[in-house]
């Protein structure tokens, strides 16, 4: 069976709350059946608004949302059959775990035996069998979140929405829950729309990520492409760490260009969004792509002065002053102990022109 690539479709959706500012601008987004898609962006970027429009708690000001080819703007939330996991879990505090899970089944008038079976199945899926009679207040944060996930899945919804579901958990728990949710998604194949502002969460879990900023999708692609090949400086800045140089294109070619920096030196970069000589640009370089004292012959090779050394356990971050950028960060694995990293020392840094992406100016 071929997958429906437009299972959820945002078609030219605008949303404004006050009639003055558009929080979502001309959003076009197709979500395939069974996909795990993450809407990632800073707060106020419109990602949660999109989710709320899909869930039915907000209506688009303009445009239409389709679910399995049916327009849903006029369908109230309770008839959409979309499961949702909320940031604060939103478990019903006066009901036991069993009653919480049975709620969506009871309102669908499913008979009692089937309810028991489905609840059992959902609870074993999140490995909470035996917790049926607990009240939500007696569960830890992680357990509550698992119950919330189970409740959103128990009635076999077409789509499950998750609105920063792990935001309230501590770091370790958050990581293990990320894997758990990912595994659940893989085993049952439901379409998941996930909202988060945590980029590592998005990179870990998603098939595709839609990076939101300023009411628009900045880039929609798989996690690796998003990280390796950001299409604009917002994405490069937002996803992962990023060293930048501002400058002007001087020697534009098809797959290489020279960028003249403000201090006069020139670097060779990969022209991603610059078109011609004289364009202003921001060159973006991932810290791990800058190599130290390497023997390989790379196009860019400069010396910088070490300004600060921060120990991070598995690696050391070194801040150097390079080509007028005092915030240039290097990541040095702690296994490479042979290097002479001391405050004030000069250090040789080099990188390939392909990794230095000349993007739009900030």
């Amino acid at each position: 069976m071929s997958k429906n690539l437009e299972f959820v479709k945002f078609d030219k959706v605008d949303k404004s709350y006050d009639g003055k500012v558009l929080v979502v601008k001309d959003l076009n987004l197709d979500i395939a059946e069974g996909e795990f898609i993450t809407m990632l962006g800073p707060s106020g970027s419109g990602k949660t608004t999109c989710l709320m429009m899909l869930a039915g708690f907000e209506t688009p000001t303009n445009g239409e949302i389709f679910l399995n080819k049916n327009p849903i703007s006029n369908i109230p939330p309770h008839k959409r059959g979309i499961g949702m996991v909320f940031q604060n879990y939103a478990l019903f505090p006066h009901m036991t775990v069993f009653e919480n899970l049975a709620f969506p089944l009871k309102v669908r008038k499913i008979n009692k035996d089937d309810i028991d079976k489905k609840v059992d199945k959902a609870l074993s899926m999140v490995s909470l069998t035996g917790f049926e009679n607990r009240m939500p207040g007696q569960l830890s944060g992680g357990q509550q979140q698992r119950v919330a996930v189970a409740r959103a899945l128990v009635f076999d919804p077409q789509v499950v929405l998750m609105d920063e579901p792990l935001g309230a958990l501590d770091k370790n728990l958050r990581e293990s829950m990320q894997y758990e949710i990912k595994h659940i998604h893989e085993s049952i194949g439901v379409t998941v729309v996930y909202v988060t502002h945590d980029q590592s969460e998005a990179l870990t879990m998603s098939n595709r990520i839609a990076v939101f900023n300023d009411g628009k999708v900045q880039q929609l692609s798989s996690p690796d492409k998003l990280y390796e090949e950001p299409v604009n400086s917002f994405v490069a800045e937002f996803i992962g760490e990023n060293n930048t140089f501002a400058g002007e294109v001087t020697n534009f070619q098809k797959d290489q260009c020279k960028v003249k920096l403000s201090n006069g030196s020139e670097i060779i970069a990969n022209p991603v969004s610059v078109k011609s000589n004289g364009d202003k640009t921001t060159v973006s370089l991932r810290p791990e792509r800058a190599l130290i004292n390497t023997k390989d012959k790379l196009e860019n090779n400069f010396n910088g002065k070490i300004e600060e050394i921060i120990y991070h356990g598995d690696h050391t971050r070194v801040r150097i002053d390079l080509l007028g950028n005092k915030e240039f960060i290097l990541k040095v694995p702690n296994s490479s102990a042979n290097m002479d990293i001391k405050m004030g020392n000069q250090i040789n840094v080099s990188w390939s022109s392909y990794d230095a992406r000349a993007l739009d100016p900030k």
Partner: protein, 417 residues
């Protein structure tokens, strides 16, 4: 080294437990001193008056002290036939002493409470007693008036012998102890208190219900509106709080009277004919309207404080899981507001059951409550012991309601804010 049983010592050698207690004692004393003024205040203004009320309501020492010899000699009398000479003699002696001290008037009032007809025969006895000869008082007293020869009057005196009585409580329930000492109801046309108790409960119940029905949507609105609107609405709810109770009740009188604003409006829109304006005051309607308005904030505030804590995402979750708005409200929202409903209803009901000023001003004859009866006995008949008895019955009623509530809902589930 130190075993488990060995005491742990602090560095200066004092056992840890002792020094801990010492350190904590200071804090305990400080805490107690902080609450002591309030404790004292409560003791003086609350516990003590209630104790005094209790004493007063059962106190019947007055007659006991006025006729000490009589009651002593009556101990042996079984009350079936006329008492023996000994009783008459001691009664004469007691009475003469009272006459000398000019306290016989009080005695006649008190005995008249017990049985009508004592006043005149005591007056007569006082006149005649001056000329009594020594000995054979029985015959002399019986000659004064034929009622003195009636055994029922002597039984009536004997009934006043105990220093404590429950008669006031019985009276509050429209009951009394008859000559044979049995508790019986008063005649049907004189049962005023029971009607009042029932009416008090009825009005309190319906005022609570009305308050609940009106406060629930208001509280919900308050809890869900954006801050700038909800603040304004909150002020509207609280505004009556800041106005004197008397002023509010008086303004209801202006609104509700037959030539008042509400009636004028009804006539203007043609709802009622001008010559047949409905009476909305000096009856139950007036009491309902005014009390509901006055007690409304007491329902709104607990409901609001509970609703405020209910996350809006719960309703969303309910809807996203497939519950219709009504089902979601009924299964998710409503159960979560029960602590607020309980607190509000208990508060309003208890306040309503003892309400005084409003029913007194707008209630008329059919809209007054038990508290008005208590006030009547405090101010007009000066029968304080009866007023105390009814006050305590009211208090007991409130405690009973509290107890029932605790059994049904659980007092821990209450949330006032």
């Amino acid at each position: 080294m130190s075993s488990e049983t060995k005491q742990i010592l602090t560095t200066d050698g004092i056992p840890l437990e002792v020094s801990l207690k010492k350190a904590e004692r200071k804090n305990k004393i400080k805490a107690f001193l902080l609450v002591a003024p309030l404790l004292l205040f409560l003791l003086i203004t609350y516990i003590f008056p209630i104790g005094d009320m209790l004493m007063r309501s059962v106190d019947d020492k007055m007659v006991t002290e006025m006729l000490p010899k009589t009651f002593k000699s009556m101990e042996k009398w079984d009350g079936n036939e006329m008492p023996p000479e000994e009783v008459f003699e001691s009664f004469y002696l007691d009475f003469q002493k009272l006459v000398e001290e000019k306290r016989d008037g009080k005695l006649s009032t008190q005995l008249n409470y017990t049985k009508n007809g004592f006043k005149s025969i005591l007056k007569k006895l006082r006149r005649k007693a001056k000329n009594f000869e020594e000995g054979n008082y029985k015959e002399q007293i019986m000659d004064v008036h034929k009622r003195w020869a009636n055994v029922e009057y002597w039984r009536a005196i004997k009934r006043r012998a105990p220093a404590y009585t429950s008669s006031k409580y019985l009276k509050g329930m429209d009951m009394y102890k008859n000559e044979e000492g049995k508790i019986v109801n008063v005649e049907e046309d004189r049962r005023i208190h029971r009607i009042l108790w029932l009416r008090t409960l009825e009005i309190a119940f319906f005022v609570t219900l009305l308050c609940f029905l009106m406060a629930y949507p208001i509280a919900h609105l308050l809890a869900t509106l954006p801050m700038k609107y909800s603040n304004l609405l909150m002020i509207c709810v609280l505004l009556p709080f800041w106005t004197s109770l008397l002023v509010r009740t008086a303004s209801w009188m202006i609104l509700l009277q037959q030539q008042g604003v509400v009636n004028d409006f009804f006539v203007m829109i043609g709802l009622v004919p001008d010559d047949n304006r409905p009476e909305m005051m000096y009856n139950k309607t007036g009491t309902y309207v005014a009390m509901t308005q006055i007690l409304l904030p007491f329902m709104v505030l607990p409901l609001y404080s509970v609703m405020k804590t209910i996350s809006p995402s719960l309703m969303r979750a309910g809807k996203s899981l497939g519950g219709t708005p009504f089902v979601t409200f009924w299964k998710v929202y409503f159960p979560l507001t029960i602590p607020g409903i309980g607190a509000g209803c208990l508060l309003v009901f208890i306040l309503a059951i003892g309400y005084y000023i409003t029913p007194a001003l707008v209630g008329g004859a059919s809209g007054t409550l038990i508290s008005n009866q208590i006030a009547f006995h405090m101010k007009s008949t000066l029968d304080w012991s009866f007023a105390s008895a009814m006050g305590l019955m009211l208090l007991a009623g409130v405690l009973a309601i509290y107890w029932i509530y605790n059994k049904l809902v659980g007092i821990d589930n209450i949330k006032l804010g």
